[in-house]
Symmetry: none
Subunit: 218 residues, 4 copies
Amino acid sequence: MTIWSFSQEAAMSKQARTPQAREERVRAIMAAALDQFSHAGFQAARLDDIAAQAGIAKGTVYLYFESKERLLEALVASAIGAPLEAMEKAVAASSAPASDLLRAFGAFMIQAADDPDRRRVMHLVFSEGARFPAIAQFHHREVISRGAALIRAIIARGRASGEFVHDEPERFPQLVFAPALVAAVWLHVFDPIEKLDATGMIAAHTEMLLRALKGEAK
Amino acid sequence: MTIWSFSQEAAMSKQARTPQAREERVRAIMAAALDQFSHAGFQAARLDDIAAQAGIAKGTVYLYFESKERLLEALVASAIGAPLEAMEKAVAASSAPASDLLRAFGAFMIQAADDPDRRRVMHLVFSEGARFPAIAQFHHREVISRGAALIRAIIARGRASGEFVHDEPERFPQLVFAPALVAAVWLHVFDPIEKLDATGMIAAHTEMLLRALKGEAK
Amino acid sequence: MTIWSFSQEAAMSKQARTPQAREERVRAIMAAALDQFSHAGFQAARLDDIAAQAGIAKGTVYLYFESKERLLEALVASAIGAPLEAMEKAVAASSAPASDLLRAFGAFMIQAADDPDRRRVMHLVFSEGARFPAIAQFHHREVISRGAALIRAIIARGRASGEFVHDEPERFPQLVFAPALVAAVWLHVFDPIEKLDATGMIAAHTEMLLRALKGEAK
Amino acid sequence: MTIWSFSQEAAMSKQARTPQAREERVRAIMAAALDQFSHAGFQAARLDDIAAQAGIAKGTVYLYFESKERLLEALVASAIGAPLEAMEKAVAASSAPASDLLRAFGAFMIQAADDPDRRRVMHLVFSEGARFPAIAQFHHREVISRGAALIRAIIARGRASGEFVHDEPERFPQLVFAPALVAAVWLHVFDPIEKLDATGMIAAHTEMLLRALKGEAK
DNA sequence: GATGAATGAGGCTTCATTCAT
DNA sequence: TATGAATGAAGCCTCATTCAT
């Protein structure tokens, strides 16, 4: 090992020369930013704190993100993850009864509500989306509208097969995912005051949904 | 000069020396503040703009509110209004079927969702509540928990009378008001992207709810 | 007594229509101002507090004083009082030994140091005089230079009569009143930390002074 | 490029990354602050002006001092300097006659009165000490009480050796340093009106003091 | 004359962003 | 590439002064 290579190694501990290292650093910054944005709100969060939490200097953030706002956007964009895609494929591929698919969707919502990062991003979008159209649009395009399409597909299939006799969620898919939104808000805002069993709530919701879709109004 | 024109003039006075004038000025400031907070978020909203919108000088705000934060709190506190009380009395007094009461609750939610100020306050609580425990607590105490009690009472009555055979909303009253929350968030965040018929959504939700509470899964 | 005269009386409780009442009010304002200026410093003192302490409304102060600064000036100007004049007359009239006159001057300084208002004014002049030439000039003209003249006259008389054989205070009358200045500063700044017996100090100073003026170095 | 030009450049750098540069910048800020505080008073002095005079941007001050108040405190704390320590050692080490030591103390006071910065700090303490206990305490602990101890030691020694037969300054050491205080105040407040030869005054004071300590009242 | 509500200039402090090292 | 010192615009809040009542 030469002196040169030694100093290079030393340098790498602080420098992101490889794509992996770069990606790793981006991830660290975004994780810190999510935490700070979530705690303090976008405006009140300080780049100083984000950098410190990410273990880097303040200026370094600007090597990876143009501005605080772009960091927020990148954050939201990176947080969708694949789960919806998995659900989409499952629905497309499976010939299971619509009830099962709806239950699977419920399980998916429970998963989402249980993941603190997912919840944080949702809350961030709900809180700041009005001010940063980019994140509202992104979230709508990548999450809301895909979720809505999925819901509509499931309901339509259930009606086609005769499983379901009602169709409200085809017109208002929000009625299906509303409890997931409630969980995101509640766990951020009201949890210190009154705990909420988000899993239980979503499970109960799923059962009610199924009864309401199948049932006859007396 | 008529009495009318006199009171008109008094209202337009630049000095609020009467209790009425004072109240009127407080209202004007809070209205402007709600608007600005709602558009820009609490942190980013500027006292300058609030004052300008209220038609007064910057310093005047501080004659009525100790600080920006207290203004937010007063805002949230003033916005509950009586409607819940009206519902509570109706439920206590009426011997109508639980279905009717639940439909009335649905109508109440529709009303709330239709009132832009109510929606704004809700969104403000959801957005800033985590940072300002006072407003989260206030809203929980005055709105959430009273709404939850109301819901539980209605469901319990329906089950007692045999109208309802299921009880999920007694454990999770959130399942009843979830669409109201969705409306508040959606109309602020996603409406420019995709319109939502909040009234229709809540009405549909009410119907599903009733079927789910009454119905037997086939 | 008519209704008219009754209301006039009522009005007089709050209005200063007579010269006496006016003077009384001026005094009240200046007393409050001295207190506030002294506690908080001229800049930090608030007209609000001064008015409140004087038992009047803020705007009323401006009926008696053009501005905060003029209030300070009037304050300092009003605070000399007659005592120096009394001393001057005594020295001019008396044929007592210079030692007695110097002791009388010492007693005068003790009196001044014991009067909180006098001390406050002195401290105010020392603190703010550089920023408000008017008060420095006024105090110099009415207090400092008259005191210095008095001291010089006493020393000169003592030297003429053979009582005193030294003359430093003729060149530096400050050496005579220095302890009075120390008392004013100390009692304001260091008294909470270490008490000072100003009377004892000035008395001791007077004795030393006399020895120094009379004495032969061995 | 010579070493000289290098350090010159370093000193002029716009970034203070070395300890020396940092120290230099702290010094520049404190110098500017002393000037502004001294001219305008603590409250009225503007951070803007301090920064401008120090040749930096307003925000930069806050990289070195938490607040305006801490800047004042640091200022006072940094201004003691070693001179008292030198005197203390001299008195402890020397076996010179007490008269010589007292004359040395006089020379020390003359030095202090001649140093504009020292005078300014003293005046600042006298003016603002009541409002900022930290600076009063600091100055009392580091200057006043050490000076008093020194004075007492000198007088005690002189009495032990028979040089001095009086003891007032042991009870009131203020009587020894009073003229230094007078000089600080006078040069700030009354000098534009009437010049004072502080050196002459203190010298005269020292001679009187010695006579008063040695002399017998006739 | 007396009041106190209203004004708005001004100051301390914060913090996103830049840039010399 | 990484750093963190420096910048300076911007915002909350204060308060001397004014003026309608």
